[in-house]
């Protein structure tokens, strides 16, 4: 029986609502506040107010896999160098949380992965230290320089720093007139990425979705809009430029190699083909979180939902 694609996608969005994981969300917020206060206490006047960024701040988070990004904006003269900033914040967090968490040096952040609590929940906070570009200008322009950590030697000049404006990145989604529709599309692509273990960074998917909204008329039902976005990615991913709203000189399209882009193009091509061929295939690409199946009312219409609330079971009619 054919799957109602719109109802299915609606169910996918519902089952991945961040609020469905309220308790885990609360734990993240509490831990984030705790880390924020610890940083404020340690660095006092050298630090502007740390703030939350990432998918939660942009309202594009899905409950299957999420972490918090905490931006720690430092004043220009807080540290002699960006490297010192990064290293000292790492050392501080390491000393503070070494008994409770695994602390990792990541590309521009310091990852804190707290040990599972009594409920088995694991809290992940990425602390991103940044330094204002010019003395006392952060409050006006929100510009930050991040330190780019590398385990190995950096060859290119300037490769140790990354200018960005996280607030502009957040506003890029939040401030868009079609923000609700954009967020829905971003969330669906993230669900596809998470369940099918795909490589493109969420940030890339965000920017190319926004670009599609800028360049095309994306209207209609959930499926109609998602299909348009997928077609846009299929037709443009190999040539599109995606300037980082936090630093227009940085083209986020360059984070994918040519072959990565071809793979993403093919992902979209095959996904559209298979779903158009058989609407039931949409359930394989865009999965419902098995922890939060949709309610009965939704399931009863069109026979839809008959297999979504449990694992799809391979029939005994396959042979070898």
């Amino acid at each position: 029986m054919a799957t109602d694609k719109d109802k299915h996608l609606d169910c996918v969005l519902n089952s991945h609502k961040i609020k469905k994981e309220q308790s885990l969300l609360d734990k993240h917020i509490t831990k984030k506040n705790e880390v924020k206060e610890a940083l404020e206490e340690e660095y006092g006047a050298d630090l502007y107010a740390p703030f939350n960024s990432g998918s939660y701040a942009k309202h594009t988070a899905v409950n299957k896999k999420f972490d918090f990004d905490l931006i720690a904006p430092f004043k220009r003269d807080a540290f002699a160098t960006l490297e010192k900033m990064y290293t000292e914040v790492y050392d501080f967090l390491y000393e503070k949380y070494k008994g409770d968490a695994t602390i990792r040096k990541q590309k521009v952040s310091i990852g804190l992965e707290f040990s599972a609590d009594a409920d088995g929940d694991v809290i992940k906070i990425d602390v991103v230290p940044g330094r204002e570009l010019n003395k006392d200008q952060y409050k006006d322009d929100s510009n930050l320089n991040l330190y780019v950590y590398s385990q190995f030697g950096k060859i290119e000049k300037g490769s140790e720093r990354l200018k960005t404006n996280v607030k502009a990145q957040i506003e890029n989604v939040k401030g868009n007139a079609e923000k609700d529709s954009i967020r829905q599309m971003i969330k669906l692509l993230k669900v596809w990425k998470i369940y099918n273990i795909k490589d493109p960074k969420s940030f890339f998917l965000e920017l190319i979705t926004i670009k599609a909204f800028e360049e095309e008329t994306i209207e209609g039902t959930l499926w109609e809009r998602l299909k348009k976005i997928m077609e846009y990615i299929r037709d443009n991913v190999e040539t599109v430029s995606l300037p980082d709203p936090g630093n227009r000189n940085n083209d986020v399209a360059d984070t994918l190699t040519d072959s990565d882009k071809t793979v993403l193009k093919d992902d979209m091509k095959y996904m559209i083909e298979r779903i158009e061929e058989n609407s039931d295939n949409i359930t394989s690409y865009y999965r419902i979180n098995p922890k939060f199946p949709c309610d009965d009312e939704n399931k009863n219409s069109n026979g839809y939902g008959s297999k979504e609330d449990s694992l799809s079971v391979p029939p005994p009619t396959r042979y070898s």
């Binding site: 298979r274 039931d280 999965r287 694992l311 799809s312 391979p314 009619t317 396959r318 042979y319 070898s320």
Partner: protein, 544 residues
């Protein structure tokens, strides 16, 4: 003049710069004579031989031969002095003659006048082989031989064959023992364990040709004396001496190695008669010097069986061949995959299946009737090593049973560790439990889950992650959830699907070809299914 002979004579006479200098006539069923061919500055005489089948080929050999023994040192000549030409096909005698002589002129320009060398190495020419002969197949060693290095080598017989009336013994070269070392040839363990015989070897670097010849192997021992050191002749003398103390003096196999293309070693083989060694001592200035006499060399045949040469005509991508492969399930699909991987150059495969092969399995699997009732993994592993001397096979019957019967929570870590030792897993069990277990184990290697629908209407290949749910969804979406049209043989304990070897092999090969193409193009291998159009005449790969 007989019409055919007349047509041939006329045909040759019509060709520019070709002249008949001794009349063509029938001799022993073929037409023979001599022609003079002028090409640029070259004027060459050729004895011409035309077989009755001309202008058709004799088997796969041209039925016309142009012979000049003085040209043996040039490339693309045969031992008897005939020239290797590759003309086009033509059923008309006169047109065919024109084409063949054009090809001969092409040879004269390229190899006689310009002395061009082909990129590929052309072997030296050995004298024609006697009735009943031996072939030594050699492969790579992880060792660099030095000029003059010599010692014992071991070899094993792998078969007794026949070609026409000739008996052929095939051996493989096993180990070289220069001084006190032991250098193993890179055959699989199965072949390394065969019983061994002993011979002697000499590495001379240069092909064993007379000093003035480039392409023809020496006919007599004295012609290669210039390539042989006194140390080797002393070694030969000591062997001769020790053989003389035995009642029956066995023949000795001698391998002579030399470098081709500066990168590869080629070996030639000689049979030295135990009672007639070719070496002797000559007293010069009061001192004995080792020499080689003028008796004829009894050349044997050798074959290059290095991995690259063996699979030179075609193999899977190295991302398959050089990976550790686990094959689960040795039924129709699994056995066909195992055989294809072996023929495709795979080096390491572990095969797991608990099942027994019965006669009724044979019609659509890679099993043989003459092997009787036996465990599938036993027969399949034998088949696989019989195909490739480079594949290491581990076959186990009990493991799937252990996976299913074990306490999953308790054994998940060791199971994960075991399965992750493999780079690629082909799951051909159609066992949904296993697909579920693999998902739970969250393995970081590549899994290809192969199965087909009844009547082989589709082949489904699912890759991780989410094997279980993809299988469920693809089969359900293909409308394969219910199927009752099964084959129910009398007395059989269980019905089975309907499909022939051809039905299954076509889909399996198509799917493997697709996977290999993805590896070649550095594309991800997605889950896919192969399906037919409604009329069954067109096939399509549907990727997810």
């Amino acid at each position: 003049m007989e019409a055919r002979l007349k047509a041939i004579v006329e045909g040759i006479e019509e060709i520019e710069n070709v002249e008949i200098i001794s009349p063509l006539q029938y001799k022993g069923g073929m037409i023979q004579g001599t022609i003079k061919v002028s090409e640029n500055t070259a004027v060459l005489d050729f004895q011409i031989e035309i077989f009755p089948s001309y202008p058709f080929k004799l088997h796969n050999i041209e039925a016309i031969r142009f012979i000049n023994e003085d040209l043996l040192n040039y490339d693309h000549t045969n031992t008897d002095g005939s020239i290797c030409i590759i003309p086009q096909h033509n059923p008309d005698v006169k047109l065919k003659l024109k084409q063949d002589l054009t090809a001969l002129k092409g040879w004269i320009t390229k190899y006689y006048l310009k002395a061009e060398e082909d990129a590929h190495y052309e072997h030296i020419l050995l004298p024609s082989i006697p009735d009943g002969y031996s072939v030594f197949q050699f492969t790579d060693v992880n060792y660099n031989f030095s000029k003059g290095e010599h010692g014992y080598f071991t070899f094993s017989k792998i078969s007794d064959g026949k070609a026409g009336l000739r008996d052929i013994e095939t051996f493989i070269v096993q180990e070289f023992h220069p001084k006190k070392q032991s250098i193993k040839c890179n055959w699989s363990i199965h072949y390394q364990r065969l019983p061994k015989l002993t011979g002697i070897f000499l590495y001379i670097e240069h092909p064993p040709t007379p000093i003035e010849a480039r392409r023809i192997a020496a006919k007599s021992w004295d012609e290669i004396e210039y390539l042989v050191s006194q140390e080797f002749l002393q070694f030969l003398y000591s062997i001769n001496k020790s053989l003389n103390t035995q009642k029956a003096t066995p023949n000795i196999a001698l391998l002579i190695g030399y470098s081709i293309n500066n990168t590869t070693i080629h070996w030639e083989a000689i049979n030295i008669k135990g009672d007639n060694f070719p070496n002797y001592g000559e007293k010069i200035s009061g001192k004995f010097i080792g020499r080689l006499n003028n008796q004829l060399i009894n050349w044997l045949q050798t074959r290059n069986c290095t991995y690259d040469y063996f699979f030179g005509r075609g193999a899977f991508h190295p991302n398959i061949t050089h990976k550790k492969i686990l094959l689960l399930g040795a039924g129709a699909i699994g056995s066909q995959i195992a055989v294809t991987l072996a023929r495709g150059g795979c080096k390491t495969i572990t095969i797991l299946d608990f099942d027994i092969k019965e006669a009724e399995n044979i019609c659509r699997s890679e099993y043989l009737f003459n092997q009787g009732v036996t465990s599938k993994v036993t027969e399949l592993s034998t088949t696989v090593v019989n195909i490739s001397p480079f594949i290491e096979v581990d076959a186990r019957e009990e493991l799937i049973h252990m996976i299913k019967m074990g306490d999953f929570e308790r054994f998940s870590e060791p199971m994960k560790k075991y399965f992750e030792e493999f780079d690629i897993i082909f799951d051909c069990t159609s066992d949904n439990d296993l697909a579920y277990i693999f998902d739970k184990l969250d393995l970081n290697n590549r899994i290809f889950n192969f199965s087909i629908s009844n009547n082989a209407q589709e082949l489904v290949c699912v890759t991780n992650p989410n094997l279980y749910s993809w299988l469920g969804e693809i089969y359900t979406n293909l409308g394969k959830a219910d199927d009752i049209d099964l084959y129910n043989p009398t007395g059989c304990w269980s019905p089975t699907f309907k499909a022939s070897y051809n039905d299954i092999a076509f889909l399996v090969q198509y799917a493997l070809k697709h996977i290999n193409t993805c590896f070649k193009l550095s594309l991800p291998v997605r889950s896919f299914y192969v399906s037919y159009s409604e009329d069954g005449l067109t096939t399509k790969i549907n990727q997810f």
